[in-house]
């Protein structure tokens, strides 16, 4: 009987349940997708870094599991805020607490079960789309990678069912412990207390100092070394918490004392925000820290990626070297736009293990080589090799020429000889075609084809010894590619989940806010004024942690770039990633405003 009533309660609020379900389904889908890709051997062994990438993925998995836990907790809170009244009523009517507990656990698990199954189905679709997209983006081959992966399905089911079971029991416990009357009236009154001024001051000063200290530590990583990470972590977490608990409260209080407060609904809006910020301290701190983590992950990930061409080209001027290229290879070279080429003659003496070059030719059309002038800033200089440079085996010029040898001649000694001597050597001369692609990223597909043909030609064992800087490019792309994938994936997943956590937290308060908005409506507040106030409140709650998160990232990146980890400008991709991030965040903000308004703004009673 109660079960039926319970069902009808859900039906009446199906729109709110829809929000809950879509949030849960997306979360499950994200979790599945990550599991499917990270635990799938085909993916990890396909990438050049193999096992070490797997380790990074497992680390990501754990982070994802933690944020999922937090997410389920908030979604569940939202669920309970919708059901409190109904269950309170049942208890008032004399339903035994055991029966209520059973109902609550059943309902929570049922919701968990449905959303998990639906989430896995959606997740398989996501995986298909994302894996092929990412593979094309980072030149990773995903041959026979299947989006459906049984171990990942099991992981997801176990993870979420356990989470929901825990959530169900927790819910039941809180319910049984609260009296029916409290449940019925919960949300109607809040225990707002004006915080003490001295405590606010102490916390505010402490918070700002801690944040400043943390930022400084990250900035000064060169001196502090690993200590910087430890100091930064502790001070920023604590600082963020205090800043939310006091600094922003005081800031809002300052605004309340200004003349602005008496305008329209400002007094209400400011008070709501002030009240919320203290109430939300924990979640706002978590949001801003995770926001920073997520944004940082993406920025660093894509930052590494954009370093690759410079890093590769700094190591070697020429992208590929072709010995006696076939017509097919020649036509591929022809496909490369924006390039410079040079051809040298070469004679090989396999017995003496020597490669001979014509000095006159090297003088007439000199070899170019590149050399890092500032490795940390990824600055390199291109120079022209003189013949005497090339004769010194420890010179950069010699290194460049050596690196351009085919696998067959790699271990041979390079000899630069006069034209006469060169002509007298009685073997057929090889042609060595050196190709420099100025835009490696753009020519990568063609260059890949060339190296693939060469790999066949020399046998796969020769791959590592392949000539030219493009091999380095490919290798780095592989390593940084999985880092970038991790960064983007975790970044988006984090943002999506933490924004929904914030959304659910705000929506959980909607029921109690409804009374306030009803009252404001009665005393004659226009609907547009109410909506304006809602937008401002939610905007504040979204923006403040967002801004703090961005500041965290700005200083966090200092650590990477000054620490020499992220060579050559961690800020390169910062703008783009932040913009993308903000768009996604904005979307969540708008959805929250829409749903919240639907719940709290009194409906028009005008009949037409």
């Amino acid at each position: 009987m109660l079960f039926k009533i319970s069902l009808s309660g859900i039906k009446a609020r199906w729109k709110d349940y829809l929000v809950l379900f879509s949030g849960m389904i997306i979360t499950t889908a994200i979790f599945y997708m990550f599991e499917a890709i990270s635990t799938n051997d085909k993916f990890t062994t396909g990438s050049p870094v193999g096992q070490s990438a797997k380790f990074v993925f497992i680390f990501g998995s754990i982070l994802l599991a933690i944020i999922t836990l937090v997410y389920v907790f908030y979604a569940n809170n939202f669920l309970m805020s919708m059901r409190k009244h109904d269950y309170g009523l049942f208890m008032m009517l004399g339903a035994k607490s055991g029966v209520i507990s059973k109902l609550i656990i059943l309902e929570t698990i049922a919701i968990g079960f449905i959303s998990t199954i639906a989430g896995i189905v959606v997740g398989i679709g996501f995986t298909k789309v994302l894996s092929s997209f990412l593979a094309s983006q980072i030149h990773m081959s995903l041959t026979d990678f299947s989006a459906f992966y049984m171990p990942a399905v099991w992981m997801t089911i176990i993870m979420f069912l356990v989470l929901f079971m825990i959530a169900g029991f927790l819910n039941a416990r809180t319910f049984v412990k609260t009296s029916a009357l409290q449940l019925l009236r919960s949300g109607q009154q809040s225990d707002w207390k004006q915080p003490k001024a001295i405590r606010l001051w102490i916390q505010a000063v402490l918070g700002v100092l801690l944040l400043a200290g943390g930022y400084y530590a990250m900035y000064d990583i060169r001196k502090l070394k690993l200590m910087a990470v430890g100091i930064g972590l502790v001070t920023i977490v604590l600082g963020t918490y205090f800043v939310f608990n006091s600094f922003f409260v005081m800031l809002l209080q300052g605004l309340q004392y200004s003349k602005m407060n008496a305008k329209g609904l400002n007094s209400f809006t400011l008070a709501q925000l002030k009240f919320r910020i203290r109430d939300y301290t924990k979640i706002l701190s978590v949001v801003s820290l995770l926001f920073a983590l997520a944004l940082g992950a993406i920025t660093v990930g894509t930052g590494f990626q954009s370093m690759v061409p410079k890093l590769a080209q700094g190591n070697g001027y020429y992208s590929v070297a072709l010995t006696n290229p076939s017509s097919k290879l020649k036509s591929l070279v022809g496909d490369i736009k924006d390039k410079s080429t040079v051809t040298y003659q070469q004679k090989v003496d396999p017995k003496a293990k020597r490669v001979y070059y014509n000095a006159d030719q090297l003088q007439a059309q000199p070899l170019k080589y590149s050399k890092f002038t500032d490795r940390a800033a990824l600055k390199s200089r291109v120079s022209t090799a003189t013949v005497s440079d090339l004769k010194k085996t420890d010179s950069n010029a010699y290194q460049e020429l050596w690196s351009l040898q085919s696998p067959i001649t790699k271990s041979f000694q390079i000899k630069i000889v006069h034209a006469n001597t060169f002509n007298r050597i009685n073997v057929k001369a090889n042609k060595l075609l050196l190709v420099r692609a100025n835009n490696v990223d753009a020519s990568a597909p063609t260059l890949t084809k060339i190296t693939n043909i060469q790999a066949k030609q020399y046998g796969s064992s020769g791959t590592q010894l392949m000539a030219g800087s493009f091999v380095t490019y490919q290798l780095l792309k592989g390593i940084f590619g999985s880092l970038e994938f991790m960064g983007i994936f975790l970044g988006i997943a984090f943002l999506a989940m933490l924004a929904s956590c914030l959304m659910f937290k705000i929506l959980s308060g909607a029921a109690s806010d409804k009374i306030r908005f009803d009252m404001l409506n009665k005393i004659g507040t226009r609907r547009s004024t109410l909506k304006h106030s809602i937008i401002l409140q939610i905007f504040g709650l979204f923006t403040i942690p967002g801004i703090l998160g961005i500041i965290d990232v700005v200083f966090g990146l200092q650590m990477f770039s000054r620490g020499g980890l992220l060579v050559g400008g961690a800020y390169q991709t910062f703008g783009v990633t932040t913009a993308g991030f903000l768009i996604l965040y904005l979307l969540y903000f708008m959805v929250t405003v829409m749903i919240y308004s639907r719940i709290v703004v009194p409906k028009t009673k005008v009949e037409k």
Partner: protein, 250 residues
């Protein structure tokens, strides 16, 4: 000659009009409240008191009939016009949740003026004078949680009074108060009324009703009867109400 503050003609309200089971809550109500009157509306539960009050207070619209408040027809206003009308002309005291817990008494009282975009300085003087009238001047910087139930209702009364409304509406304003606090609020309302503010009170409590000067009885969506306090003492009037309820509710 007295002016009419509220005048309704043949009000009908049908809930769920287009559904399978429409329900007619008001079946032709005509009434008027004069400037400075203290009118009570009584009736059994479900008789349509709240429905009527919501329509008079422009929180809802009638299915047919007209409502004039302070000489203005309010039945054809848009949603925004209704809101503006409420914020300028109508004061409210409800049973519960009158105040915003996150605002001080001062801010709560000043809210209607803020909504009308009054100057900060003029809001301060209006708030202070309303608070003095109700004897809560020393409580202005407290938060609602620091006030007693009766004090809260007096703050609510001050808010209803602060912009000199044409009329104050109350729906069971004493419903959540104990007898001492209820008594205090009713005295306050009487005091406000004596200063010339019209009041319309919905209640089913005979004691609260005895403070009114005239009482309309609603039964099944129609006005069934009306009694006047005249020169009777409050106690006599109370007895009369009890008798009336006895006969009326059979």
């Amino acid at each position: 000659m007295t002016t009419k503050i509220v005048e309704t003609q043949d009000l009908h309200k049908i809930y769920d009009k287009n559904s399978a089971k429409p329900y007619e809550a008001l079946k032709g109500i005509s009434l008027s409240v004069e400037q400075g009157e203290f009118v009570g509306i009584m009736g059994a539960s479900g008789s349509g008191k709240t429905t009527l009050l919501n329509i008079l207070a422009t929180l809802d619209q009638p299915t047919s009939g007209s409502v004039e408040i302070d000489g203005q027809d309010v039945t054809h206003l848009t949603f925004n016009q209704m809101a503006d009308f409420r914020s300028k002309k109508l004061g409210f005291i409800f049973q519960d949740f009158n105040l915003l817990e996150t605002l001080t008494a001062r801010e709560n009282i000043g809210l209607p003026l803020s909504l009308q975009n009054a100057k900060a300085a003029s809001i301060q003087t209006a708030v202070t004078s309303a608070a003095e009238k109700l004897g809560i001047a020393d409580l202005l910087d407290k938060y609602p949680t620091q006030l007693s139930g009766g004090q809260k209702q007096r703050v609510a009364a001050a808010r209803a009074l602060v912009f000199n409304p044409s009329i104050i509406f109350g729906d069971e304003p004493t419903g959540a108060l104990d007898s001492t606090n209820a008594r205090e609020l009713l005295d306050t309302l009487t005091h406000i009324n004596q200063q010339g503010v019209s009041i319309l009170l919905v209640t089913h409590d005979p004691f609260s009703a005895s403070f009114c000067k005239r009482i309309l009885f609603i039964k099944d969506g129609k006005i069934g009867d009306e009694i006047d306090a005249g020169d009777k003492s409050r106690n006599d009037f109370y007895q009369e109400i009890l008798e009336k309820l006895g006969t009326f509710e059979q």
